[in-house]
Amino acid sequence: MTESHIATKEETTMGFIPLKSRPASRTPGSFRSLLLTAGLLGAFGCASTSATSDTGAGQATPTAAAQPSMPEAETATTPHSDPRVGLGAGLMDAEEAVWNLRMVSQTPPPEAFVGVSNSDLAFTGNYAIQGNYNGIQVWDISDPSNPSLVIGYVCPASQSDVSIYENLLFVSGEGLSGRLDCGSEGVREAVSHHRLRGIRIFDVTDIRNPEYIANVQTCRGSHTHTVLKDPNDDENVYIYVSGSASVRPEEELPGCSDLSPAEDPNSALFRIEVIKVPLAHPEQAAIVSSPRIFNDLAAPPQHGPAPDDLAEIEEARARGQYVVEIQGTPRVMPDRMAAAMLDSIVQARDGSGAATADDSAALRDYLPILIAEMMAARGADDEPTGPTQCHDITVYPAIGLAGGACGGYGLLLDIRDPVNPKRIGAVSDSNFSYWHSATFNNDGSKLLFTDEWGGGGQPKCRATDPVEWGANAIFTVENREMQFKSYYKLPAPQTSAENCVAHNGSLIPIPGRDVMVQGWYQGGISVFDWTDAANPVEIAFHDRGPVDPTRMRMGGSWSVYWYNGVIVNSEIARGLDIFELVPSEFLSENEIAAANTVRLSYLNAQGQPQFVWPASFALAGAYLDQLERSNGLASANIASARQALADAEGKSGSARSDALNKLAAELAHGASGSRDAKRVQMLAEAVQELASA
């Protein structure tokens, strides 16, 4: 690919095989169309370097990383012989393997929900709300060892994705069998006014008695949804609706169209829906906008090339290659395309043989005009490309950003105007099949996307399935640009009777680290540290054997989220599991205790809260433990700091404050000499805060 060669006639015409989905205007026969065809998707700029420099963002990922590799059954961090391999099957009596976690309880579903898929979770106060294709289950988890059912509310719909805000509970309905009246008989007619596809709204002021108060019907239903509480708006919440299923007929819901936007500007494709819910009048909830966040997704990068790319472009220019500028970004034209264009110029003057210097100069003069014409012509007759919907969107209101997992793309969105989210970045990945969900780290400097390859019903964690497929992709976010760093996939191979792929999870508020718990369907749950974005490491897990040893049956962890000191798992077939972290070489007692000082009044994992750690001795101890693990402080200094903390804890009043202030000053003073200065500084600040607590 790096060698240049002169195009033959065959090669130049090969570019013109018409695509059915493309308008005919994209396939004329002039040399101008050659550039059109090739250039519009921004692919050719780096053609003479390598596929990987076509990243636009300029990351220097080796090509080899794009090649899938076979997974290893074990990693250095998991137990030597992975106990998750070969677990005995069973619905309620499967063998289990657990590492660095303690199962506090496992509770089967109430009878009305047995045998019907459990789905997502939301939390408020002491309650966990668990979606199920048959409705919702509200659990009181104030005693995690004995969760008690508050109510099972039968109201079937797939997938019953749930979110809560104050007294309002929102539930997604996507499938064709959901009914407005919550009946279980389904809806047989292809067009019916009994069908619910969209968002159900319940008033749960009395959580024992949810009151079904409103619906918002949408054209594609709601596969998932995201509740956005804008920090600057206390009167409304917003719901971003993601629906990947087919568009409803217009006879069922007026205004729904599955024509392309070129044919119908009101097409339900290539957009998301934003519902505004007035908190004082939730019954007035309605769609307020349908942002087309995918527009021009296949356009060339909006950001400048990295220095390495620029250097390559300058080298190419020096070699005499043609460089064109598309939307402000310089791109090297592939040699064979240049040759074809020169050939056309030679022919246009009725010449023959090699192009002359005049031909070459003519081409150079003409290229900018050509690009300008090409850009002007764009859009008018161009089919939109890219996804028609998102699978899920995770909003992080505290930093004004959202991660959109949308078909073949991962998007970064600016959500400071909740009604009009704007796309500010997009990534794609040849190893990713279907971008499914997103999780930021707490300071917003990293973003993790999942690939739900196969849709969750397929066994994608077998030893033969590449580790890059059906995995997480971890990106850093700097200056609002995403840079790929690594993949993380469940490291233990599963059987072909176990549906398994990356699925829902949440951060665990371990201070100073990025730790996440994630469900992998029948692959179980995996806790991993992605503080080093390039080297994620598993630190705990739980897994069961297959539901059925003889065949595939849907099961496993749909969602697993940390909430106020416990890890709650929605098991599709088996009910509700609750876990606690157990100290290990990877996670200290102080770190777990510090995490447990973070208290949330509610949690929707797709509406990410910013964790704040109150001052505590555990917090200071957690940072000390981390410094010991990283050799960030000399062991003598760590020992004396531990002693000083213990002494201070034994004191009270001003004696305690004085001791802590003294320690904080010493630590701050010594921070600059540490190889982990930032963490020492965090420790000093934590001790300082403790002094004034």
Binding site: L19, T37, L149, V427, F484
Partner: protein, 246 residues
Amino acid sequence: MTNTKHWGSPGALLAALVAIAPAACAHGTATQNAQTGAQTENEPQAAGQSDEQIEALYLARTDSAQMRFTEADVRFMTGMIGHHAQALVMAGLAPTHDASPSLDILCARIINAQKDEIAGMQLWLSDRGQPVPEVDIHGTTMMVHGPDYAMHMPGMLTQEQLDELDAARGEDFDRLFLTFMIQHHQGAVTMVEELLATDGAGQDEAAFKLASDIQADQRAEIDRMEIMLEAISGGTDGAEAPGSGL
């Protein structure tokens, strides 16, 4: 135990029989549902049932959920198995036809995905007592034993197109493959849309999920293949790098 209305039987067998009725027999208004579904706090959740009883209920409920299918669902599954089989034939050519590395990856993924989906659709049919097509592939010859509606399905390649693909090598193969597979995938998306526009179809949640997943995955893959196809014209090999910016 307060919720004895439907589930008070001590015997798993009776529980299993009752389970064949729609869950909790709860129709009508939401308020009624709330009441029928309500259970008192601090009750054991499965009303004190043993693991065996829960399992019997689970099996009965999952069995009864398999009674909601229609002829349209069956035709879709049967046809899609043949449709997928042709994708396996096409993708299986990549290693011997000098495909580019990025196309090799795409084909490996298509084979992996569609083999699993065929197994899922076969399981769906056999769970419902329907004839199950078996797929047999030799080179570009595909035998589908049993009911086979595939050749009438949208997007299927003709034998001439298959032969043309089989005769191509290298970049020609890449280009033809992408062109034909986009056509093939668009056919699958059309099949899903037609299914879901049919009265009574997709009431079976497993059928709805299989069909929706196929549609979502193949739409995303069409996008990817269009980028790859356009990139060939531009002279790159079309591979998106891991996490490539667009």
